[in-house]
């Protein structure tokens, strides 16, 4: 088998490998892996509440996954999804609590959604600008920006905006609430899944069209594949870098629609539960393709919520390990196949 024929199956292979390794670990903790996986499947796909939970978690992951996938096209590795999401969520909350209570939805929603996107985008633009202007490695700057965002929102929350003896802010204006999926149709899931899922799908479709069907995307991808040739062809690669990074940040910020506008309606400590970081894994598993990203996000959401559902049988930490193993496998399998083929040649 050549490298070319193996390549498309690498995500699947690594996933299988991760699940098998996970079974081993589960067995080592004294539980029956089949029973555990079975219960995970039952508790998610046969129960409306479980399905809704998976959908809800997947929604945030689609956004944070896109935040990695878009800059990836210009060869930037945006590790800063977590910080961009936090900043977007905090900004939208601030706008939401300062708006008058009676603000109608047609004003409140666009303003809140835009504020999340702009703040997330600006946070990412900072890393992009440092890269373009001074050549600062975007991995390092976006990690640092994560810390800063975490500290800044944490400080503002505890010292300025938290309601007394709680770890959350006031509730945002009701005009900014996004409808739950239950109210949109007769699902009766009683889950946090909300209209943001539709926004996420629209975002995926828009990004796909932008990258693969538009002239702008043609130039963006050209800038990523061969910056020198793109510049020679008169493409402003610096601008494409900045825009891709900003767009990534804006998409991460959009994740706030799911967490704040669709579910919590306030900002609280530990709001994101690391969705920005898992987004990196989601994008890697999907090989940064926006459409595959939906499936990859669903899978990670399933591992995440399914892990909670079997908490009584196996500690949740096990599933964190399975996620980690899957990512590690995705990254190393291509290299492993490469070296194996080389050996054969010799």
């Amino acid at each position: 088998m050549s490298r070319k024929t193996v390549e498309p199956f690498i995500p699947l292979l690594s996933l299988l490998f991760a699940l098998t390794a996970g079974s081993g670990i589960i067995a080592a903790t004294g539980s029956d892996p089949l029973e555990v996986y079975g219960k995970m499947l039952r508790s998610t796909f046969t129960s409306g509440y479980g399905s809704g939970q998976v959908l809800f978690r997947a929604t945030t992951l689609i956004f944070t996954g896109l935040a990695v996938a878009v800059p990836f096209r210009v060869r930037l590795f945006n590790i800063g999804g977590e910080g961009q999401l936090l900043m977007g969520a905090f900004a939208t909350t601030l706008c939401g609590i300062t708006m008058p209570q009676e603000t109608p939805a047609f004003i409140a929603l666009p303003v809140l959604i835009l504020s999340a996107m702009i703040t997330g985008g600006a946070w990412a633009l900072l890393a992009g600008w440092l890269k373009v202007r001074y050549g600062v490695n975007e991995v390092i700057s976006s990690i640092m920006l994560n810390f800063i965002a975490l500290g800044l929102t944490g400080y503002l929350l505890t010292n300025r905006f938290a309601l007394p003896s709680t770890v959350h802010t006031k509730t945002i204006t009701p005009g900014g609430f996004l409808p739950n999926l239950d109210t949109l149709s007769d699902l009766g899931w009683h889950s946090p899944a909300n209209f943001s899922f539709v926004i996420a799908i629209v975002a995926v479709a828009s990004v796909t069209l932008l990258l693969y069907r538009s002239r702008y995307g043609y130039a963006t991808i050209a800038s990523g594949l061969n910056p020198e040739a793109a510049r020679h062809a008169g493409i402003n690669t610096a601008q494409h870098t900045l825009v891709a990074m900003t767009l990534g940040g804006a998409l991460a910020g959009l994740g706030a629609t799911n967490l704040i506008l669709g579910y919590k309606h306030w900002f609280e400590a530990g709001l994101t539960s690391g969705a920005g970081f898992i987004g990196i894994a989601v994008a890697l598993l999907a090989q940064a393709h926006p459409v595959w990203l939906i499936f990859s996000a669903l899978l990670f959401a399933w591992l995440d919520y399914g892990g909670l559902a079997v908490n009584t049988m196996v500690p949740k930490d096990i599933f964190m390990m399975v996620q980690g193993i899957a990512i590690l496998a995705i990254i190393s399998f291509p290299a492993l196949f490469k070296t194996n083929l080389k050996k054969k040649v010799k």
């Binding site: 069907r213 130039a219 594949l225 062809a233 008169g234």
Partner: protein, 511 residues
């Protein structure tokens, strides 16, 4: 005469491709044996097999009459084989001596370098390879670096020297000097295998020549019986026109005018010192020169990609419009096309298909637009038409990634895209046939002359004097950032008749 190397039935596959198919070859001791063929004909594979970098799938190798099986270059070196690669394998931050003894260090802790340096100096003097043993390799010119590579082989007492395209980076004088060295090495009883695609050099230097085509050895003959035409025919498999007809043409108005151009690199070194030239419509202005005399700076100033443009002096005007401060997109908008020196780096996107590459840089043309995207029918039609008229070889109806095509095919894609730009007035060509097969060179030269006949102004930069003489209307000799001498149209036409003399004349002005 004894046989130095004898290959019998060598076959080497890479996947489905047979890079060497049943190749049998004997190289006589004490001769210069040339190995010619187009890109991808299997020359490099064969030489790597002799040098032990690759193992043949089948076939045997005999060195000095003894069968050998090399599994690494180390063993080949021990058997007295040495190779100078096209891209030198030197450590830039080490001295000449250190580079030469690398891999052969004697003494466990201290290297007695002073005594070795003396030995290397003597070795160099013996063979016309004078170099300063103490100098750092990064301070040496390409020609000097090549001398170090050869010295390395002599120090290791190699008896068979394999040289891969040794003259690709040398000036005419350096080439002459190399040839003298090689001839003297042969008279000492060493054997040289010369891999090249320059037929003139084969005829001038070698005693025997072997021709490869598509992995097979087409034939081996004594050079005395070979002509350029017969070798080209063997390489390509059909008759090749080595010299495209270059009819006289009257020229029109001045299109490109460069006036007293100066600039310094980022390191502050002056790269261009008052370069002036004019190119008219219907004219090919050739620039001859050894690499590093300001070609790159001239090209990037012309195309608006020079860093620190503000610090440059003088002016460039195209059709009367100054281009200073313009970016490539704006310059292209004036009706200028640039075919850059390094195709892979600056002219194509290897992962994109032929179709997408044909649009690169021309994706701004309204013609191909539809809403925010491209008009598929129109881009398809463009691709179809250009693939047809420029003879780009790919399976019909497919759109393979351009990285999978041969160098000649890639260059045809670039040429097609740039030469068919609407409203084109000025075409800048940098080394348009570098790494391109003879067959494709012929087609490219035809297209360039055709473009000139259609009234384009063409600026041609090339390191191949032969190409410059064949195509140019006038030739400017670039030396240290300025045109040192210009050959008029009449002089070039006359020079074309007695080429080797003319090459020497040009050579005097560029070194």
């Amino acid at each position: 005469m004894a046989t130095a190397v004898k290959l019998s039935g060598i076959t080497r596959r890479f996947g489905p491709l047979k890079a060497n198919d049943n190749v049998s070859l004997s190289i006589e001791k004490g001769t210069i044996h040339a190995l010619v063929g187009e890109n991808g004909a299997g020359k490099s594979t064969l030489s790597n097999i002799i040098y032990g970098l690759l193992c043949p799938d089948s076939g045997t190798i005999e060195i000095d009459g003894k069968p050998v099986h090399f599994s690494s270059a180390r063993q080949a070196i021990d058997a007295g084989i040495g190779m100078v690669h096209q891209h030198f394998k030197l450590v830039p931050s080490l001295s000449v001596t250190e580079n030469i003894i690398l891999g052969r260090e004697q003494g466990r802790f201290r290297i007695p370098s002073s005594h070795l340096a003396e030995q290397i100096r003597k070795l160099g003097e013996q063979h016309g390879l004078e170099t300063d043993p103490e100098a750092l390799v990064c301070h040496l010119s390409v020609g000097q670096q090549q001398r170090v590579e050869i010295l390395k082989l002599l120090y290791r007492q190699a008896r068979l020297l394999i040289l891969d395209e040794p003259t690709a980076v040398l000036s005419p004088t350096e080439t002459e000097r190399l040839f003298i060295t090689l001839r003297s090495l042969v008279t000492e009883g060493r054997t040289i295998l010369l891999i090249t695609h320059k037929l003139d050099e084969v005829l001038a230097l070698s005693g025997t020549v072997s021709v490869m085509r598509k992995g097979t050895l087409v034939g081996t003959l004594s050079t005395a019986l070979a002509t350029k035409e017969s070798l080209a025919r063997m390489m390509v498999g059909r008759d090749v026109l080595l010299r495209t007809a270059n009819p006289i043409q009257s020229t029109g108005r001045t299109v490109l005018s460069i006036n007293r151009l100066t600039c310094s690199g980022l390191d502050g070194v002056e790269k261009l010192r008052g370069l002036s030239l004019k190119v008219s419509a219907g004219e090919i202005y050739g620039i001859a020169g050894v690499e590093g005399n300001g070609q790159n700076e001239l090209l990037s100033l012309l195309w608006g990609t020079f860093e620190g443009e503000a610090l440059s002096g003088g002016s460039i005007t195209i059709d009367g419009k100054p281009v200073k401060g313009m970016n490539p997109a704006e310059i292209a908008g004036l009706g200028v096309s640039m075919i850059p020196e390094n195709r892979h780096k600056s002219a194509i996107i290897a992962e994109y298909g032929i179709k997408e590459n044909l649009l690169l840089g021309r994706h701004r043309e309204k013609e191909f637009h539809q809403g925010p995207g491209f008009n598929r029918t129109k881009t398809e039609n463009l691709a179809k038409a250009l693939i047809e008229s420029y003879d780009i070889r790919c399976a019909p109806g497919t759109n393979p990634a351009i990285g999978s095509l041969s160098g000649g095919n890639q260059q045809k894609v670039v040429l097609a895209r740039e030469m068919e730009r609407p409203g084109l007035k000025l075409l800048v060509l940098a080394h348009p046939t570098r790494g391109v097969d003879i067959g494709a060179i012929e087609q490219i030269h035809k297209k360039v002359l055709e473009a000139r006949q259609n009234g384009l102004a063409i600026l041609l930069i090339s390191s191949e004097l032969e190409e410059l003489i064949a195509l140019s209307t006038r030739i400017g000799c670039l030396f240290k950032g300025a045109i040192r001498h210009e050959f008029t149209e009449a002089e070039v036409r006359e020079g074309r008749e007695k080429e080797s003399g003319f090459e020497k004349q040009i050579g005097m002005h560029i070194t």
